[in-house]
């Protein structure tokens, strides 16, 4: 690798005459994570300029071309399936850092979900914390006040044997506790409630956990800030944290496969500083209230390089940057390091000169550092200076255009088969399911997060009688003091079904998100997706990705719910093991009047119990079959029309106020759903399976067929409910036990205390 020094810390890299081997050597030594073809494209570009690049120029381009920034493997497929679902409510879709959707006449909500998998696998506490920090900035930079967080998490089972772990891989218990503590300590400190999430265990995540984090905010429509500047002469100001060597090459790290060596990648790991973020949020919102923010973007993946490139390119201007003006954490950083550093807690604001004093005032009050580092210019060229010396000059369209691939893929054929088990003791199965880690109580986690701060959480993640709460399906936030309108928030994913059939797994995920929102009385409104997959350079993984996207798109398009933001995380592979396909949805629903919201806990004795939706013998991917070790590839299939109709019917009934409680049927099937409703209400239920379709009792109890809910209705409202909703009456709320018969045959009778004991014990031995 041939280089010439230009000034201290800046080198010219001689690539014009480099051979393929030399190109790859440069790639390796500079840590670019580019392919040979990409290196050649780089060389050809500079050949056309007739000069060799500087190191900072190469780094700038490599950032833009990383999988993380350019979506080079996923773009064509996202375009085909995910983008472009029409909705009259969307305001900003898949353009800036978060999606913006109409809330009411004057307000919009802003949200996004993102992955932070690799950093969390290496350092769970700091990785998860910075994941939360990053997603908050994505919402903040649209000018919105962040009002809630969600955190879908995926680990290997907590009883995974230590001896079986690969070198350098941390135990799921260590990871779980570290991740939860990281989210807790960051989210609680910045004062944003964590209101929903999921905690899922599956062997496929042993080498590569998933930590996704989502955030939602609220903004007045006239205060929405875009991530662009469309006028020359506007100042570019950094606000908040200083820039350090931490986080250099985070985006490349995210596009790499974890290996033993990842432990050494300390630089890609940060701890995050919530006590810098908290005042930063205040300051940004105050500045926005003053109306002085011309454009804004947070510094995340790719650092200044991505932010300035994209912000100016989107607005059609150029920029002139003086890197020596960037406040640093440590001395001796090279300009390219400053340019790509991903240090946390930083925002870039575009401010007109006449407003600079106001920003100074606000920053001073909140003890925040700020620095003017450059300004926008006429044209479309980016120039960077280092103590007066020009060290980068690139056309923005080349720097930010990125690359795109149509990667080959292979779709696996799923052959339908289903073992028929011998009939077992249903009571034991139910108790085992309740005490299994995917179904059992997540109270230990949920309560470590402050889900009440800001006082807006009107439907909580745990619902029911105080001290006896059960799992709810979605949380509801009341964002505005003077309006009864609410935002329901939930997450969904099902890698177990997706592993068998990625298409139906993805469809099921959409259905589950819809079910959860409808269960609390909210109308599904929009989605943000976080697509977690293995190595896209493998055809079968790319096939899973294509099928998952097709599934998400088909289901969402049918019910007209748009994807307004999202994130793709590839290369979730380590030691030759890829994770199961895991598309995760963060879903938002609207409820016109939060006083009509419905919770999952049974309310009072004498009320009728209904099952809404059809139950089928589709046991593939069910917790029941996994528990018992039975095989099935017959996964639950969603009937789109049913999903649409049941949703509308149920919401109508809830709008009339005739549904006392409601819970969707998911993991563990109907038996688990009813058990949870009993626990939360501190009251029992009697169920007769003979009122359902004709099929084996265990299938009725434990099938995870989609588009189903359990509803509680007062006898005086029964007629009206049956008129509105296609449902079967299967029992009644009563007593202190959960008892089930099939016609005249009694199947089981379990006391509430026993149910609760089993359910509460699930995580007890693994946490703390």
């Amino acid at each position: 690798m041939k280089v010439t020094k230009i000034v201290e810390g800046v080198y010219r890299i001689h690539i014009l005459n480099a051979t393929d081997d030399e190109l790859m050597e440069i790639n390796e030594k500079m840590g670019l994570a580019l392919s040979l073809d990409e290196m050649k494209k780089l060389r050809d570009f500079f050949a056309s300029l007739g000069r060799d690049p500087t190191d900072i120029e190469i780094h700038a381009i490599a950032q833009g071309w990383s999988e993380h920034c350019s979506y080079k493997s996923s773009k064509p497929i996202l375009r085909k399936y995910i983008f472009g679902i029409e909705s009259p409510h969307t305001i900003v879709v898949m353009q800036d850092d978060a999606g913006v959707v109409e809330f009411d006449e004057d307000h919009a909500y802003v949200f996004k979900i993102e992955s932070h998998n690799h950093p969390s696998a290496v350092e769970p506490y700091g990785g998860a914390a910075t994941g939360v920090g990053g997603i908050i900035r994505d919402v903040l930079n649209m000018g919105a006040k962040p009002i809630a967080l969600v955190d879908p998490l995926f680990f290997a089972p907590p009883d995974y044997p230590y001896e079986k772990l690969n070198p350098g891989i941390k135990h799921p218990r260590y990871l779980l506790n570290g991740v939860v503590a990281g989210i807790r300590d960051y989210g609680n400190r910045v004062g944003i409630p964590t209101v929903a999430g999921m905690t899922y265990f599956h062997e496929g995540f042993v080498n590569n956990i998933l930590v996704n984090a989502g955030c939602i905010g609220i903004v007045r429509k006239d205060k929405i800030v875009r991530s662009r500047v469309d006028k020359p002469g506007v100042l570019l100001v950094m606000l908040g944290g200083r820039t350090g060597r931490d986080g250099i090459h985070g985006v490349n790290f995210a596009s790499k496969i974890l290996s033993e060596k990842s432990e050494e990648e300390k630089q890609a790991v940060q701890l995050g500083n919530p006590i810098l973020k908290e005042p930063l949020i205040h300051a940004v919102l105050e500045a926005n209230d003053e109306g002085i923010i011309y454009g804004m973007k947070d510094l995340g993946g790719g650092g200044l390089s991505s932010v300035i490139g994209e912000m100016c390119h989107a607005g059609g201007v150029g920029a002139e940057i003086h890197l020596d003006k960037v406040p640093l954490k440590e001395e001796g950083m090279a300009p390219w390091e400053i340019w790509v550093s991903e240090s946390q807690e930083r925002m870039l604001l575009a401010i007109e000169e006449k407003h600079l004093d106001i920003l100074h005032e606000i920053a001073g009050k909140w003890d925040l550092e700020m620095s003017v580092i450059g300004k926008t210019t006429e044209g479309s060229v980016l120039k960077i200076f280092w103590y007066g010396e020009k060290i980068l000059e690139l056309p923005l369209d080349f720097m930010t255009a990125g690359v795109e691939y149509n990667r080959p893929y292979k779709i696996k054929k799923v052959k339908q088969m289903q073992e028929i088990p011998v009939e077992e003791n249903y009571r034991n199965i139910l108790l085992k399911l309740l005490s299994s880690v995917n179904i059992g109580s997540k109270e230990y986690i949920v309560r470590q997060y402050d889900h009440e701060v800001q006082g807006r959480t009107v439907i909580k993640p745990l619902q029911g009688e105080i001290g006896f709460e059960t799992h709810g399906d979605a949380a509801i936030i009341k964002p505005l003091k003077d309006s009864w309108k609410g935002l329901a928030v939930t997450v969904a994913a099902n890698p177990q079904i997706g592993e068998i059939d990625p298409y139906w797994g993805a469809v099921y995920t959409v259905d589950e998100a819809v079910r959860n929102l409808v269960a609390v009385g909210a109308k599904p409104h929009s989605f943000s997706d976080c697509l977690n997959f293995g190595n896209p350079e493998r055809e079968e993984i790319m096939g899973e990705f294509v099928e998952s996207c097709r599934g998400l798109g088909d289901a969402a398009r049918y019910i007209h719910i748009p994807f307004v933001s999202g994130n793709v995380s590839f290369y979730n592979e380590a030691f030759n093991r890829n994770i199961p396909p895991t598309p995760v949805l963060m879903a938002v629903g609207i409820i016109e009047d939060i006083r009509k919201a419905v919770t999952a806990d049974f309310k009072s004795a004498g009320n009728y119990i209904y099952i809404v939706g059809d139950t089928r013998e589709e046991m593939g991917g069910s917790e029941y079959y996994r528990l018992m070790g039975y095989k099935s590839t017959t996964v639950p299939k969603v009937r789109f029309e049913d999903m649409k109709n049941r949703t509308e019917e149920l919401l109508k009934a809830m709008g009339e106020g005739i549904v006392e409680s409601c819970h969707d049927i998911s993991h563990g099937g109907m038996a688990v759903a009813i058990a949870e409703m009993c626990m939360g209400g501190k009251i029992g239920a009697e169920i007769d399976l003979a009122k359902m379709e004709f099929m084996r009792a265990d299938f009725k109890l434990f099938s995870e067929s989609p588009t189903r809910w359990i509803c509680e209705v007062k006898p005086e409202n029964a007629e009206r409910f049956e008129e509105l909703v296609k449902a079967r009456r299967i029992g009644q709320v009563s007593g202190e036990t959960f008892r089930v018969r099939d016609g005249r045959r009694w199947l089981f009778n379990v006391h509430l205390n026993i149910l609760r004991n089993a359910w509460s014990s699930a995580l007890r031995d693994y946490v703390g």
């Binding site: 432990e263 790991v269 701890l271």
Partner: protein, 84 residues
Amino acid sequence: MPCMLRVDILVKFKEGVDDPEGKSIKHALELLGFEKVKTVKVGKMYTIYLNCDKEEGYEIAESMVRKLLVNPVIHEYEIRVEEV
């Protein structure tokens, strides 16, 4: 009968890891008028009493460090073992 062992494990951040806690405390000390403070680092000291002999004590301590108390990516640690 095995005697009692006292193991002290001090866990700190490695050089180069940016520690927000230390920084906040430094800032607080400065605002309180402690101007001579140059840096603040915060570590954790685990004092663990074990029912075992000294040799085994080291081994157990190393294993606890590895499984629970330390992440080698960001932490460094010192172990001291003492019979009591």
